[in-house]
């Protein structure tokens, strides 16, 4: 816990805190940040320094989000992530980057503003009620609202998180942005930016507005379920490999939303593990797809094929990451999904069954993806060289982390058990 006065007259302080939950995400950020840098080692071509500056700035924002205890600081960090991310897509992205970056910016900005309004309103309401004007999360905790105000404020926060996660149907920006972003950008977007939303929900939404959250939970769970199934079907229908992977994110992050809003310990733990696994697995998949595109010049599933025989190491990683997508036991995703489903069964039987059906859809799209790109015999037009040693090392570390999550989930859960004590969040007793 590190605290400095920032704008004392308004009760704004520069307060950073670290507990089990933020620690997990800080580790993820460090790992995936490094991966983003290493993955874009060769592919940039132009304005390399500027790219890394922007990347670093996004990273700073992400770290800030995961560490802020002061809500003003949190909102500030939230915005800090946005602008350089916009440039990462807009300057170094693919052919459709301009449209994608604008879309990303508008969606995020709209959500961000609503959250900022909610932060200010929360500050004011709390100040009026108690006479203490502060943005400090610990001070604001336990503020009593009348139900309507609580719901409005909660929705303000939720709007920002829902865009970033994303929550169906606010995912419209995601496929374009993920797809058009350069490798490093996709990795940051998929692995980390979406996690800031899940983190924000667990850290701020649940403890600050318990009543509103409880009232809103059924809607959120069904939105999550809709995302799971919808994203799955969308992934199934894609011809562009990167776009396919983008839609799988919509599906997998749906589990995060469901898990959080089950308001049970299993659900929350599952959501966290699902976020970490998604960060590692899908982050690694974006790295892999990026490298694949660099080598083959295409992401078109109709033109790919036979990559396993051509590039066995690439194929092996492709296989493991595909298995991550289907939630195979032994990898973190399985634990996340299993915990989320076992948490949501308590209260949402029908929703859970539909969500479970998403796992069948996942099998369909993931195996289709793997078959079309890696199975078959190599076509003459395609020449792909295999991964070199540093690339194997990078993906190897990410996969090893994913396996660790799958085999020793208790190590992560241990960190989360201390969660309640450190920042007043007590998962499980919420409902």
């Amino acid at each position: 816990m590190e605290s400095h006065a920032w704008i004392p007259s308004l009760g704004v302080s520069f307060t950073l805190g670290l507990d089990g939950l933020s620690l997990l995400f800080v580790i993820l950020t460090a790992l995936m940040g490094a991966a983003a840098v290493l993955a874009s080692w060769k592919s940039l071509g132009r304005k390399v320094a500027l790219f890394h500056a922007a990347l670093a700035l996004v990273m700073a924002g992400i770290y800030g989000v995961f560490l802020s205890v002061d809500l003003f600081l949190f909102a500030f960090m939230w915005e800090l992530m946005l602008i350089p991310m916009y440039f990462l897509v807009d300057v170094w992205g693919g052919p459709g980057r301009h449209k994608a970056s604008v879309k990303f910016f508008l969606f995020s900005q709209a959500g961000g503003i609503l959250m900022f309004v909610a932060v200010v309103a929360l500050y004011v309401l709390h100040g009026r009620a108690t006479g203490v004007y502060s943005f400090d999360y610990r001070v604001l905790l336990g503020t009593a609202f009348d139900p309507a105000a609580g719901m409005l404020l909660m929705l303000g926060f939720f709007a920002a998180f829902a865009v970033k996660l994303p929550v169906f149907p606010l995912h419209a920006w995601l496929p374009d942005t993920y797809t058009e972003a350069p490798i490093g950008g996709s990795v940051l977007l998929a692995a980390l930016l979406s996690k800031t939303a899940g983190y924000g929900m667990i850290r701020f939404l649940l403890p600050l507005f318990p009543d509103a959250v409880r009232a809103f939970a059924p809607i959120a769970v069904w939105l999550g379920v809709a995302g799971i199934v919808y994203g799955g079907f969308m992934a199934f229908a894609q011809k562009d490999l990167k776009r396919l992977v983008s839609y799988t994110s919509v599906s997998h992050l749906g589990f995060v939303l469901v898990g959080i809003f089950t308001l049970t310990a299993q659900g929350l733990d599952g959501a966290v593990i699902q976020m970490l696994s998604h960060g590692l697995g899908t982050g690694a998949l974006f790295v892999l797809v990026g490298w694949l595109e660099e080598r083959s010049g295409t992401r078109d599933l109709d033109r790919l094929g036979g990559l396993w025989s051509m590039a066995p190491r690439l194929g092996a990683f492709g296989l493991v990451l595909t298995l991550g997508l289907v939630g195979l036991p032994g990898l973190g995703n399985f634990i996340g999904e299993f915990l989320v489903l076992s948490g949501s069964f308590h209260a949402y039987l029908a929703a859970t069954i539909v969500a479970g059906f998403g796992l069948v859809v996942a099998m369909v799209y993931a195996l289709r993806m793997f078959q079309l790109s890696f199975h078959g015999s190599p076509s003459g037009a395609l020449a792909v060289r295999d991964l070199d040693a540093p690339q194997v090392l990078l993906l190897g570390v990410l996969v090893a982390a994913l396996v660790y999550l799958g085999l020793f989930p208790q190590e992560v859960l241990k960190l989360l058990a201390a969660l309640g004590a450190s920042l007043g969040l007590t998962p499980g007793v919420m409902p």
Partner: protein, 645 residues
């Protein structure tokens, strides 16, 4: 005992890791490691079985061993139950017997593969997968709770996927692998839901604790729901109707794999799970009846398709479906020993038949039996062992299949399922017929293929017997196919004081039976099946074409496997793909279009604002921000009033 159990699971895992990361380039070394690991597993599982059986009779669970560690724990808070997941080993007669079967067949198949896969570019990869499979399957066998079972259940599914698609450059293999994995996922979805509900209702995944908890919940609706859901898992893994479609296609994998995974062990995992969780299923009569009739139906349905298949492996695959149906029928009518007994004998003779088929395919590079012929003279060991396997499968006294099949028939008779009894006898007739149709066509006759298929006859002048790596496993399995059934015979019981029932019981062992009526009927029926096959395909007194023509539509129905695959493909194409396309359209034109429209409007606004602002996006972001800030101040003036004072 616990150490041995852990060791027998970990040895193949170590082999998998070693081959994948170290000896990948040293093909022969990889094979040796894999064989050694399978051998260690076999030796350890034998020691377990000996240990379990040497315990005093009636010792029950005390004869075995059970150890577990807590793997994942989420404490309960308030009225919400947490989650406790353990990983453990359960050694009892059932798991010890099953691990002997699995590791023995795995050991023999691994040796056999040394010859069969010789020269394949993926040699090391193949052996690493075999080891991974042995690890997963043995892990499933010794698991002490439903969660752990589910974990390994998925892993064997993965191995099956990898091995069916081993020759992934071939589109048919790749498709078959995907079909197997996806079909199983449908069933596993229900299975997983069932497992989660088990925990929610009973607070434990542990087999032992559950069986006592279930006893107290008999008759409740939720117990019925859970049992029904869990039951769907075995339906998928053991390829029972309507999930059977993946198994025949799975024959795209290398033949030793078909023997190990898709005949002897993995497909029997469903039967094993039902035996393992017998307390659960037994407590819900509806599920038991469904099991019996679905099994009986699958037995008949698959056997009828096998009558007309031309591909040697597909005939065996449909035969496997049919025999698994028998096992389900046995379990469904309440006889766990009969089901497990047939699983045991079937593992030996069906592995033998598949490996024999592999030997034939290896020599002729041909799978259509009507393009073979006269192989008996050129491949003596293969031919003789194959005939032994076929006799065992047909249930000819005193071979293995005779004892176990009669046990099933007797169980259905004595439990009052006369319909199933008759059905079982009909299936026995069909089984004998299709097996000897195969034998007379492929091994009998002249060196030139028959013309029943209408295809060009192929000369097999170069055909010769396979090497010792392949023939020795055949001989060992042939010996087992002859004698393994005796452990379930009354003679064995009177000589040693216990019988097969004691190998697997966790309640009271069932005694072995020899019902002379059933034995006579089934023998006569099987012999007449063989005789009819001889008339048609051996002597060619009856023309197969004429029979086919006489049967007309029925023949076409069988030939197209009742059009089930076509129906599924149609449903899949229309519904799954259709939904995908519809959603894609919605996403593109409605969700995206809506927001694109918003974006367009904002951009138009931005263009206007550009007259006053210099920047691009930052420009209007600033405007938006400022506007909102003003709005906030405006809305909350009275709130702020208090603060500004």
């Amino acid at each position: 005992m616990v150490e041995s159990a852990i060791g027998l699971v970990l040895a193949p895992l170590a082999s998998f890791i070693l081959i994948s990361f170290v000896t990948r380039r040293a093909a022969i070394l990889s094979a040796v490691i894999s064989i050694a690991a399978a051998g260690i597993s076999f030796a350890l599982s034998l020691s377990l079985l000996v240990g379990v059986l040497s315990a005093p009779a009636g010792a029950g669970l005390a004869a075995g061993a059970h150890a577990s560690i807590q793997w994942l724990s989420i404490p309960s808070i308030g009225r919400f139950r947490g989650l406790e997941i353990a990983m453990g080993v359960l050694v009892d007669p059932l798991s010890a017997t099953m691990s002997v079967i699995v590791s023995l067949v795995a050991f023999l198949v691994t040796i056999y593969s040394l010859g069969y896969m010789k020269g394949d570019p993926g040699f090391s990869r193949y052996f690493s997968y075999l080891s991974l499979f042995a690890f997963s399957m043995l892990g499933l066998v010794i698991a002490d709770n439903y969660f752990q079972t589910f974990v390994f259940w998925e892993l064997v599914g993965l191995c099956s996927y990898l091995l069916i698609g081993f020759w992934y450059a071939k589109p048919s293999a790749s498709d078959a692998a995907r079909k197997a994995f996806v079909t199983n996922r449908w069933a596993d979805f229900a299975f997983m839901v069932g497992v989660i509900l088990l925990f929610i209702f009973f607070g434990t995944f542990d087999f032992g604790q559950l069986s006592s908890a279930i006893a107290g919940a008999r008759g409740s609706a939720m117990l019925a729901l859970v049992a029904a859901l869990v039951f769907v898992g075995p339906l998928g893994k053991s390829a029972q109707f309507p999930f059977h479609v993946w198994l025949p296609d799975a024959m795209e994998g290398p033949t030793p794999v078909s023997a190990l995974i898709h005949a002897a062990t993995m497909v029997a995992a469903g039967v094993y799970l039902i035996a393992r969780g017998f307390a659960l299923f037994q407590s819900v009569p509806g599920v038991m009846e469904t099991m019996a009739y679905l099994g009986g139906f699958t037995a008949l349905f698959a056997a009828s398709i096998a009558l007309v298949q031309k591909d040697i492996k597909r005939i065996l695959a449909y035969s496997t479906l049919s025999q698994l149906g028998y096992m389900f029928m046995a379990l469904g009518v309440g006889s766990m020993s009969a089901g497990m007994f047939h699983l045991t004998t079937h593992a030996f003779f069906k592995a033998l038949l598949f490996l024999g088929a592999g030997s034939v395919i290896h020599a002729t590079e041909e799978q259509d039996i009507f393009k073979m012929g006269g192989l008996g003279k050129k491949m003596k060991i293969t031919a003789w062992t194959f005939v032994i396997g076929a006799l065992a499968l047909s249930g000819i006294f005193p071979l293995a299949g005779f004892w176990s099949k009669d046990e099933i028939l007797f169980a259905s008779l004595s439990s009052g399922h006369i319909g199933l009894y008759v059905l079982g006898i009909a299936v026995a007739f069909m089984t004998a017929f299709y097996m000897f149709r195969l034998i007379f066509t492929a091994f009998g006759g002249t060196a030139f293929g028959g013309t029943a298929s209408g295809g060009e006859p192929t000369e097999h002048a170069h055909v010769h017997e396979s090497g010792p790596a392949m023939t020795i496993p055949l001989i060992v399995l042939a010996v087992l196919s002859v004698f393994a059934g005796l452990i379930g015979s009354p003679w064995f019981q009177s000589a040693f004081g216990f019988s097969f029932g004691s190998f697997i019981f966790f309640g009271r062992p069932e005694a072995s039976h020899l019902d002379m009526t059933t034995a006579s009927i089934s023998t006569v029926v099987a012999l007449s099946g063989i005789f009819l096959a001889w008339l048609v395909y051996g002597k060619k007194l009856l023309k197969a074409e004429r029979i086919a023509a006489a049967l007309g539509p029925l023949y076409r129905l069988l030939d197209h496997k009742f059009y089930i695959d076509e129906i599924y493909a149609w449903v899949f194409a229309k519904i799954m793909l259709g939904l995908g396309i519809v959603f894609d359209w919605i996403d593109h034109y409605i969700v995206d279009g809506l927001f694109d429209g918003l974006g367009g409007a904002t951009r138009a606004l931005g263009r206007k604002l550009r007259l006053t602002q210099s920047g691009r996006l930052q420009g209007y972001a600033l405007v938006i921000f400022a506007a909102v800030a003003i709005a906030v101040v405006f809305i909350s003036t009275d709130l702020l009033g208090g603060f500004l004072k």
